[in-house]
Amino acid sequence: MDDALFGRPLASMAELLAIRADQAPDAPAFTWLPEREGEPVALTFAQTRQRAHAVATELLRHAAPGDRALLLFPSGLDCVVAFLACLAAGVVAVPMMVPRRVTARDSSAAILTDCEPTVILTSPDLLESRPDLADRFRADNIAWLTVDATRDTHSEPPAHVPAGSDIALLQYTSGSTSTPKGVVVSHDNILANVEMIRRQMGHPARATNVNWVPLYHDMGLMMGVMQPLYLGGHSILMAPAAFMRRPLNWLRAIHKYRAATSGAPNFAYDLCASRAHQEAVGDLDLSSWTLALNGAEPVNAATIERFTNAFAPYGFAPGAMYPGYGLAEATLQVTGGLRGALPVARSVSRDGLRRGRADPPRDQADSQITISSGQAAPGCRMAIVDPDTGARVPPLIVGEIWVGGPHVAQGYWRKPEVTAETFAARIPTEETEPWLRTGDLGFLDGDGALFLTSRIKDLIIIRGMNHYPQDIERTAQDSHPAMRRDCGAAFSITEQDGTERLVIVQEVERTRRQDLDVDAIARTVREAVTTAHDIAVHAIVFIRPASLPKTTSGKIQRGKVRLLWQQEELDVIGSA
């Protein structure tokens, strides 16, 4: 019965919510699991619709369709209701991470300036526990509305009905701290991508999903809210902090609710495997879990093996592990595998990869196991091209991943130049729609399976969160006068176990070289970077002035710095 809905033209997910609420008013839609004691809090489809409509009506008293509403929420039902209310009202939702108390330098102020919200939606609890937020976002022309998902209210559908081409949300996951870029996602983009995901992942109707990935993150929002709603399934939500504190509680939730799908970045699988060795796993049956999405950061072969070995005794099927690739600029999903099939691994030459070729390895030491992120989703165009010429490259040659299709977003909010560069690429000699340049590098095998290799933009991904090296370098240089401006490189390295770690290589001022207290300065830099960006610094290396590799035009060659660091060929003054 439900299947008739899939692929049918709909104007928005809000319309879909209304249909779901008519079809199965009393079926559970969203359930929140509190971190400690206390019963789970559930909303049925009818309750979800009713509360979203009530907030939408209230929202339209303060904002016009097309205005922006900032969503300032910890994960939870309030956030879900607020987001769906924005969709129903045609007000553009701007999900944002709640700024940490200790951080002065984050992207929140720049996002506020960039998207010019009319309204800030938040939860009563957050407003009470974090009075600093009202000060941080103080502005005369912004209204604050609190959303309480548990409050029973009656409401009619909002007067305005958005069109499919209208903007649904701005996703600020790209761009540096100082110049964040909001990806413009339309209602049509969301609808196109949920259908692609359903077809590619082979989700059954009403599949139950467990999600702890933050809801301001594209993966959390799409997998935890949009996809379950589309399938008419039950979405079980947990706080990211609850996962971090007790990783195995994620798996216990999958067991308890007999979830078919649940996904997380690679590090989460690693963490669970480690915990399984340290503590008693207890009664756990993961046999219902047939799709374990692994995305949002590089997928590691060793992690997959460790996780599968640790949890196969608890019913985890090796074929459930499901690596995927996506980005906010394509709403979310770009590639994925075949449900139930083992992840595709390929051994390639490390040396070859450095030269942009996926050659067979010479010997064991030269071998690197890469895991495929799967094939392009149905309806998604994908090409691997030479980033300089835009020409397609053959299989097994590394190039930039270009993507096209109805899920590709409309551009970056109010940034026409960057939008044109990123969203309107052309392949010479081909007459097709424009392509999205992802900035990611990879190669295809003979079957069209994608293998990611690295990023053009030197993006640092740690625990699924994107960090821009420029931001980290600037923080390091600002933290101590002995640091030379614009003469540092931040990059990540992958350890044997697949963990990504941050390394900073930094030139020291000529005048300060004699009296340099390496340990003291390293402490200062570490503290500044961890406080501002919330990443641990694995290694800090101070090098001689003018010894950092740069291009002739003065650009920092971070890839080369990484190579020199690994080969211990930097001109080191001291390190910590």
Binding site: A241, M244, E527, T530, D534
Partner: protein, 94 residues
């Protein structure tokens, strides 16, 4: 709680536990860990600090807020705070 202990624990024992924990988690020599250095300065990000708080919960059988290591941001302050909680339960050793 798997490792929760009921016998009294001293503030000094908590400090030593912190040093041992941080040395292992951050791969630092224990003798180089300054008790008054901010956790962030030692390289403890918020995820790692949550792990430390959880481990302290398990060890001491306390319920702690995720942010305690941010509110009490070094070994001295953190240990003093945990000791005050234990004292309320009559479980702090002199």
């Amino acid at each position: 709680m798997p490792n929760a202990r009921s016998e009294p624990v001293s503030e000094d024992a908590i400090r030593q536990w912190c040093v041992a924990y941080l040395a292992k988690a951050l791969r630092l020599p224990p003798e180089g860990i300054d008790h008054d250095q901010d956790f962030a300065g030692l390289g403890l990000d918020s995820a790692e600090s949550v792990f430390m708080v959880t481990a302290a919960e398990d060890w001491l059988g306390l319920e702690l807020d995720s942010e305690v290591a941010i509110q009490h941001p070094n070994i001295t302050a953190f240990s003093r705070f945990l000791t005050s909680l234990l004292r309320q339960q009559g479980r702090a050793a002199p």
